[in-house]
């Protein structure tokens, strides 16, 4: 697993993808931060910033995950990984953790933005920490979604576009809910909706069920990816 993790991590920086992801992430996030907090005189809430961050993930995270399996499948190197003495779970986790590492490191670098806040006032540290954790976990779940969709195709573009579509759809659910006439369906969708789950974080509270939900979401998609490979052997 560690060998795959290391190779995957390295490949992000021999191709431009790693640099593009980090650069775009920090640039867009910095601009968002500036316009939603520093340049915004009327309100001092960070909710808007975190909300935009989540939207940004919908575009950026598929960039990070599109090649994970699609590229190996196209170049047939997956044959090497699948015939090596490594378990399927080990192979999938190696790749997931590599993407998560790039995402996590950029995310941590991005936290520097908040340091600026302390120079201008006294922000609510508890709220910031809760939000950072929540947004990070949502991103981690999106990485798993992208990982899963990348395992279904050998075309990176298809992997990226379908990941963007899937993530956007997962976010749009919360807009659609209100116009659904059935209360029971509303209830189910609300339970699954990533953004509805996020509401407590915006109200400055750490929601344990939401944290568990994001964790589970990531775990489910990693598991599904393992199943994709397990099933492919048999078909």
């Amino acid at each position: 697993m560690f060998a795959i993790y290391k190779r995957e991590l390295r490949s992000y920086f021999v191709t431009p993808i790693g640099y593009i992801f980090c650069g775009m992430f920090l640039l867009v996030s910095g601009l968002l931060f500036y316009f939603t907090t520093l340049a915004n005189q009327s309100t001092a809430s960070l909710s808007e910033y975190f909300f935009y961050m989540i939207l940004m993930f919908a575009i950026l995270i598929p960039l990070l995950t599109m090649k994970l399996f699609a590229e190996d499948r196209r170049t047939k190197t997956e044959q090497l990984l699948l015939t090596a003495p490594v378990s399927l779970t080990g192979m999938v986790m190696g790749k997931y953790l590599a993407a998560l590492t790039i995402y996590g490191c950029t995310f941590i670098a991005n936290i520097f933005n908040f340091v600026l806040l302390y120079m201008y006032g006294t922000p609510n540290t508890g709220s910031i920490v809760a939000n950072i954790l929540g947004v990070f976990l949502i991103g981690a779940a999106f990485v798993a979604v992208g990982l899963f969709l990348s395992s279904l195709t050998q075309n990176q573009l298809i992997a990226a576009v379908s990941s963007i579509g899937a993530i956007v759809a997962m976010l749009l659910v919360s807009l659609v809910i209100d116009s659904i006439p059935f209360a029971w369906l509303q209830g189910i969708l609300e339970w699954f909706s990533i953004l509805d789950r996020y509401v407590p974080f915006m109200n400055q509270a750490l929601s344990i069920p939401a944290v568990m939900y994001y964790f589970s979401l990531a775990a489910v998609f990693v598991f599904l990816t393992v199943r994709v490979y397990d099933k492919r052997r048999w078909s």
Binding site: T15, T75, Q79, T83, P85, S87
Partner: protein
Amino acid sequence: MIEINGLSKVFGTQRAVDDVSFRVEEGEIMGFLGPNGAGKSTTMNILTGYLSATSGTCRVNGIDILENPLEAKRNIGFLPEMPPLYTDMTVKEYLSFIYDLKGCTFPRNQHLREICDVVKIGDVYDRLIGNLSKGYRQRVGIAQALIGNPRVLIFDEPTVGLDPKQIIDIRNLIRMLGKEHTIILSTHILPEVQAVCDRIVVINKGKVVANEKTEDLVTAVDGSRKMVAKVVGPQDEVLKTLKGVAGIRSVDVLGKRDTDSISYLIESEDRVDARKPLFYTLASKGWPLVGLEGMELSLEDIFIRLVGEQRKGRNVKGGKN
């Protein structure tokens, strides 16, 4: 060393491999032969754990690939039809990655260096794989299979797309590796197995049609011997006389190959040596026999007979390559 029992693989409605069984003993080089689409690659992919069989079992060194895949895979070095290379890595980085991937424990640099010496890729060690020629890529693919000193090596069409010199190099390499490893070599090039393999398994449409020692296969399929005789003398009379010699089944005129003699293709009856009667008959007529050359049935002939396919446009010549 390798035991395959009743192996079948069904893709949708198509039976790619149908009840295939064979064994490969320790230290043997087995040629796995069949036309394109016969099920060679599928069988090898099952053996290496890339695919799972619909039914049947595969054991490598006594370990079942399904029951204990990681342990079984540790015993196998696999070169797939398309070498699985990361073109954005140098040879050194790539082999080092494989070393980690296989979880090897012996000294890294020494091991990699030894393998590079064996497959002769030392001079491209620091170059990007993407920039290497096809022959070198194939070698890097073989190097990859050798890492971790697996006891079994499986090569899927290792010489496809190489130039004649490279093909000879790779064959020599495989022959050398066969001294220390058990090897399965798949190919549809017949002289290749004749040149390299101890045993041949022929597969067609998913079924095993022959499983013999290389030299046995040649005689098993056809007991009769073919030879080419060069005789100086009037063609029609010589032909008539030759047909009358005991033990000769048929005679064909091949034509004038040099200034005075005429060549005849002679096929003798099964398991009969017709050379002596042939000589005495010609001598008694006063027609000098200036050349007599035995022609072994080539694998191509055997192959065509076994799989019952007529290949056109190929002039099959006898003898070994």
